[in-house]
């Protein structure tokens, strides 16, 4: 595939264009009282290719965490379909859906909140194994120790409690839990956002190693575009419940096709004073509109530096379409970006 070649990295080469997960026109609305709804995710379609890391970025309230929970079917869709391989997950309920959880695991944002404080580390990591009655007794213990070793923790930690560990170590425990069932897809929801910079690098490197070793596919969600670009093969940008751009991670930076992506890139400071002082901030006017009552037409038009108002940007919603090979964007004037 093109992006793996461009990247010039030893990252796992996604095999062909086979998609592991396909999301079709998924919508999620949450009731917001008085008959109104929060349009958290509003008609998004994309696929996650086997073996790749698909990055998902956006600012708070853009719907990225909701989308993560829709992909793993932790919450039901309002409408639309999620396919895992050939199986339509959105059609499954109860026990049938639960069986698919083996394949779809998740790593959570807050390493202090995502581990049950009343359980030992061993029981936390073994919980997925217990839920599916996979191994018992001595074998279960062996598997826990093996998983601890895989994520770089001392295998004898299994009898300790989460509060005895630091943030980075807890996140490793969360990763071990996610790996216990040998899943195909791991959704990392802001998995490193709560960690210190030096620990972030440890976890990012660990995730990369694990991907190579276990042929994992990642949906990697974060608000920090620099981390997402670093770890991902392709990057998907969300704004107010919509996908505005999907592109190879190098192209995202070198030639963004959506003004929001460009603004996001310009806003992230580069840790190099010579470069940073020469960069120009694409200033966005105004505030992020409410997802209860999103703007008409292109949702970004209220803050867009290149919008032509009212026609077409405030009237017609731009479709997410291929602007270049394998580079999708939803903008009427993507050539002006």
């Amino acid at each position: 595939m093109a992006e793996a070649a461009v990247k010039g990295t030893p990252a796992p080469a996604p095999s062909g264009a086979k998609s592991l997960v396909r999301v079709e026109n998924v919508v999620k609305h949450f009731p917001a009282g008085l008959g109104t709804h929060v349009h958290a995710v509003d008609g998004v379609s994309f696929d996650i290719r086997e073996g790749e890391t698909l990055g998902l970025v956006g600012e708070s309230g853009c719907g990225k965490s909701t989308l993560a929970r829709l992909v793993t079917q932790l919450i039901p869709v309002t409408s639309g379909k999620v396919f895992f391989g050939d199986v339509e997950l959105t059609k499954l309920r109860g026990e049938k859906l639960r069986q698919y959880r083996r394949q779809l695991q998740m790593i959570f944002q807050d390493p202090f909140a995502s581990l049950d404080p009343r359980m030992t580390v061993g029981d936390i990591i073994a919980e997925p194994l217990d839920n599916f009655r996979i191994v018992r007794g001595r074998k279960r213990n062996q598997r826990v120790q093996e998983l601890l070793k895989i994520v770089g923790l001392n295998p004898n930690f299994n009898n300790r409690y989460p509060h005895e560990f630091s943030g980075g170590q807890r996140q490793r425990i969360g990763i071990a839990r996610a790996l216990a069932l040998n899943p195909k897809l791991v959704v990392c929801d802001e998995a490193i956002s709560a960690l210190d910079v030096s620990i972030q690098a440890q976890i990012v490197n660990l995730l990369e190693d694990l991907q190579r070793e276990f042929r994992l596919t990642y949906l990697f969600i974060a608000h920090d575009l620099s981390v997402v670009r670093h770890i991902s093969d392709r990057v998907m940008v969300m704004y107010l419940g919509k996908i505005v751009e999907i592109a190879d991670s190098v192209e995202t930076y070198s030639s963004p096709k959506h003004p929001y992506t460009k603004a996001l890139l310009s806003a992230i400071p580069v840790p190099d004073p010579k470069v940073q002082r020469g960069r120009r901030l694409v200033e966005l006017t105004g505030e992020i509109p409410s997802p209860i009552n999103p703007p008409s037409g292109c949702r970004f038009h209220t803050r867009c530096p290149i919008a032509r108002l009212p026609t077409p940007c405030a009237e017609t919603e731009p479709p997410l379409e291929e602007k270049r090979r394998d580079h999708l964007a939803a903008c009427h004037f993507s050539s002006d970006v």
Binding site: L74, D116, R118, K149, R160, Y161, Q169, L181, L206
Partner: protein
């Protein structure tokens, strides 16, 4: 895994292995009032158990001393209106109080915990129905509920417990419901669902253990409330029926003779007050010990 094995971290940050429970125990031990209360309550339980087999006199034996006679070497706490030994009656009364206090809380837990868990976890209709019923029960005065039930069922010890449970189950249910509502939004619950845990496992394996602290505290405070309510019912004459003594009915009997034999009121009242105080101090101690915010 050479790359990751190199990162093996060999020591966790906290040097000793201490579960949250042992932490709580360590804090509770430092609370002197709670500790004294625990000792007192343990003694009370022992005395109540011993009283099943042996009391100085039979609690129903009439005329073992002169009616209204005060404390003496033979009758340490004096005698009552029928010349029965007050100490013996007090000890048997302790049994009644403890059975009522603990018994109601066991039933309250049995009712409140599952209902609260289900209402809080599933929300929606289940929660609306439960909340509605709770509000209805809160709307009717406790005494009225208890009196009606006792009139319908008859005043036996079991029925007294049922009547008290009927007026006391709402607090526990509401507490468990609130805890569940808060806990179900926590990430580790979502993590459990993501790893394929079934609802029963989530409710009893994750939510209940994490709500246990507040539940224990609530139950501890519930015991003296139930004891007091039983005493009140007995004082009114609709509680434990004669000749079985209860601290409430003993105080009620004594009240008529308070000028000539104050010991008849004082003995059960002091026993009642001490016990209520002990449970409240213990509850306070437990609350502080189990509250993670008081951790330093």
């Amino acid at each position: 895994m050479a790359a990751t094995a190199a990162a093996v971290v060999t020591r966790p940050i906290a040097p000793e292995q201490a579960s949250l429970w042992s932490d709580a125990w360590r804090r509770l031990r430092r609370n002197r009032m709670a500790l004294i209360s625990a000792v007192y309550l343990t003694l009370l339980v022992v005395v109540a158990i011993v009283a099943i087999f042996k009391t100085p006199y039979s609690y129903r034996a009439v005329g073992v001393a002169l009616p209204y006679s005060g404390p003496s070497a033979a009758n340490w706490l004096g005698a009552d209106i029928l010349g029965r030994d007050v100490l013996s009656r007090l000890l048997v009364g302790a049994q009644i109080s403890l059975i009522v206090g603990v018994g109601t809380q066991v039933l309250v837990l049995a009712v409140g915990v599952p209902i609260g868990l289900i209402a809080g976890y599933y929300k929606g209709v289940a929660d609306s129905v439960v909340s509605f019923i709770i509000n209805v029960f809160y709307g009717i005065p406790d005494l009225l509920v208890a009196m009606i039930l006792l009139l319908l069922l008859g005043p036996s010890l079991n029925n007294i417990i049922i009547a008290i449970v009927a007026t006391r189950w709402m607090d526990m249910t509401r507490l468990v419901r609130g805890q569940t509502l808060a806990l179900r939004e926590r990430e580790f619950i979502e993590a459990a669902r993501a790893s394929g845990a079934k609802p029963l496992k989530i409710l009893f394996g994750h939510i209940l253990p994490n709500a246990l602290g507040p539940i224990i505290v609530q139950a501890t405070f519930g015991v003296p409330a139930a004891i007091l309510f039983e005493a009140f019912l007995s004082f009114l004459g609709i509680g434990v029926q004669p000749p079985t003594p209860s601290w409430g009915s003993m105080a009620s009997d004594g009240l008529a003779a308070i000028r000539i034999a104050p010991h008849m009121v004082l003995a059960p009242s002091i026993a009642l007050s001490l016990t209520l105080m002990a449970f409240n101090f213990l509850g306070d101690g437990l609350r502080d010990a189990l509250d993670p915010r008081s951790r330093r």
